[in-house]
């Protein structure tokens, strides 16, 4: 089983979100980066579990600059065998997917795993784009993944329910909650990660289909209106006449 896991970095979930340069750039001031939770908790851990039971290798790939290396090392500490960094600043899902597809082509990966979405741009785009580039089937937002021989069986969410699907390998799978349990790296993993290979490859200069040109923050909420807990008729009245939501 040759597994490729796509890893991105994301600001720590408690980060203060602010913008600079006339609201055109995300302010990295005081921001701590983490491995995008869906990539780490679900895609990577399930990839490692499959390797542990079926044998094989887990390679992680990131489209990013040298600044991404601490998060790449963290993913290595959790147990990936080797890392590849495609040397470009990630700006757009199409660019990222094209770089990863170009890298993966012809390397014989049985599974390409991604997270459900990045928690900064929330596009949920990269997995489908890689699949189309490589003409592979995609299981989108899988919450369970098992491999038997040349097929994978997945549970995936459908509106209000679940579907069990079977797909021929190789395939691309985007991983959502339920697939695995978060693993905390231990000291041995952290030490080992320092010497695992991190190969930097040149980008193939794919173009940008989309660009974020400006940002803004939501208007601050006005102060909360407190309601007497004894008087829920008053709340219902406000929800009906003032807020007009019921």
């Amino acid at each position: 089983m040759k597994i490729l896991v796509c890893i991105s970095k994301a600001p720590d979930t408690t980060s203060k979100i602010a913008f600079t340069e006339g609201n055109t750039k995300f302010s990295e001031d005081g921001v701590q980066y983490i491995v995008n939770p869906y990539d780490e908790w679900y895609a990577l851990v399930r990839g490692l579990e499959l390797k542990e039971s079926l044998g094989g290798t887990v390679t992680i790939v990131t489209v990013g600059t040298a600044a991404d290396e601490p998060t790449i090392r963290k993913a290595l500490a959790i147990g990936a065998d080797e890392a590849v960094r495609i040397d470009a600043e990630a700006k757009d899902a199409f660019q990222v997917a094209t770089e990863i597809a170009n890298y993966a082509k012809g390397q014989g990966f049985d599974l390409i795993l991604t997270g459900k979405e990045t928690i900064n741009y929330n596009g949920s785009q990269v997995a489908g784009m890689i699949a189309e580039h490589l003409d592979l089937p995609l299981v989108s937002l899988a919450s369970k993944l098992d491999v038997n021989g040349v097929t994978a069986t997945c549970d995936k969410e459908i509106v209000g329910g679940l579907e069990t699907v079977e797909v021929q390998l190789p395939a691309v799978i985007s991983c959502a909650k339920g697939m695995a349990e978060q693993r905390i790296p231990n000291m041995r993993g952290i030490m080992a990660a320092r010497t695992k290979p991190l190969n930097v490859v040149a980008a193939s200069a794919s173009e940008l289909n989309t660009e974020f040109v400006a940002y803004d923050l939501p208007a601050p909420k006005s102060a909360v209106k407190l309601i007497d807990p004894e008087n829920m008729d008053a709340l219902v009245e406000l929800l009906h006449n003032e807020a007009k939501v019921i």
Partner: protein, 313 residues
């Protein structure tokens, strides 16, 4: 300008997000809808009321296989010469729109919450709803995938012609082995009203009062992450940064502290009501209406008040 709108009609009926997508397409140009499956012409033609002029339907396959739909919508885009293709950013849209984007070399804007402005920039949610971004598309064709519940469907009157269309879709990429049907109730991502509860409810046996209020309102139920993690509630109810992001008209949160990761998934709600014993709970800062009180008393009282209101109206 010709706009193509993909609609999932596989449930045999049309959902609100279908009407949202047609309404959105109508703001940009002349709308042709593309869909598949066996839903009746009478149901499909109701899209005309929202401004669709034509519905192309491929009756050769059912279901929502992403590879088949990509071929179908790609063929329809070519046939209509549409420069803009609109999806709902639901579970099907999330699987199909990225594939189509590569197939058509069309820039994809996912999670749109605004119409294209004068320079074509489109507003989307970023950082899990903590901020907005404005996206410029550099390609001649573009795909826009709408965040559900961001646009009010608007009836404009009119009727749509139905035309058979062969998308030449080939074989599906996935084989569906089993389906667990929705367990009644309102699916969370589409719900306009949501009642949610957290660790403050102490245990799963106390969720009856959450469900009672939800039933009375016709609302969906949701929960905070620890509640799903301990197994008090199913995972699909978990809302927040790492769960489902929702934007209902009304979000009622009982016994939830309002951690930043929770807020990230619900702060798109139009109106937020918070019930918490702790007046200092951070959630009150994000709330429109706050009740400092015990959920065990307030929830049943609120259910009664809704019941009374409904019988009086």
């Amino acid at each position: 300008m010709s706009v193509l709108v993909y609609i999932n009609s596989n449930a045999g009926k049309l959902s609100k997000s279908a009407f949202e997508a047609v309404t959105y397409g109508k703001m940009i140009g002349d709308v042709t809808v593309v869909t598949n499956g066996s839903t009746g012409d009478d149901i499909l033609s109701s899209l005309g009321a929202y401004g669709a002029q034509k519905v192309l339907v491929d009756r050769s396959f059912d279901g929502t296989d992403a590879q088949q739909l990509t071929r179908l919508i790609g063929a329809a885009a070519e046939a209509t010469g549409a420069a803009t293709i609109v999806f709902s950013n639901d579970l099907v849209g999330k699987a199909v729109a990225p594939r189509l984007s590569v197939r058509l070399s069309a820039g994809l804007v996912s999670g749109a919450i605004g119409a294209p402005d004068a320079d074509g920039k489109i507003k989307v949610n970023v950082f899990s709803g903590k901020a907005f971004g404005h996206v410029k598309v550099n390609t001649t064709k573009r795909i826009i995938s709408l965040l559900p519940n961001s646009f009010q469907p608007e009836e404009v009157g009119g009727s749509a012609s139905i035309e058979a269309f062969d998308g030449n879709v080939g074989a599906p990429g996935l084989v569906v082995k089993a389906t667990k049907q929705p367990e009644g109730g309102v699916p969370l991502p589409e719900a306009e009203l949501v009642v949610s509860a957290g660790r403050g409810l102490k245990g799963p046996e106390n969720w009856g009062m959450v469900e009672d209020l939800a039933n009375e309102l016709g609302a969906a139920t949701a929960c905070s992450r620890p509640v799903a993690d301990i197994g008090w509630r199913p995972h699909h109810e978990h809302v927040g940064q790492t769960g489902v992001a929702i934007r209902p008209n009304l979000y009622i949160a009982a016994g939830i502290s309002g951690a930043i990761q929770h807020l990230a998934g619900v702060n798109g709600s139009k109106v937020i009501v918070v019930i918490n014993t702790d007046a200092e709970a951070p959630f009150f800062k994000a709330a429109d209406y706050g009740i400092v009180g015990d959920a065990f008393e307030v929830l049943p009282r609120l259910t009664e008040a809704v019941k009374k209101f409904k019988s009086a109206n």
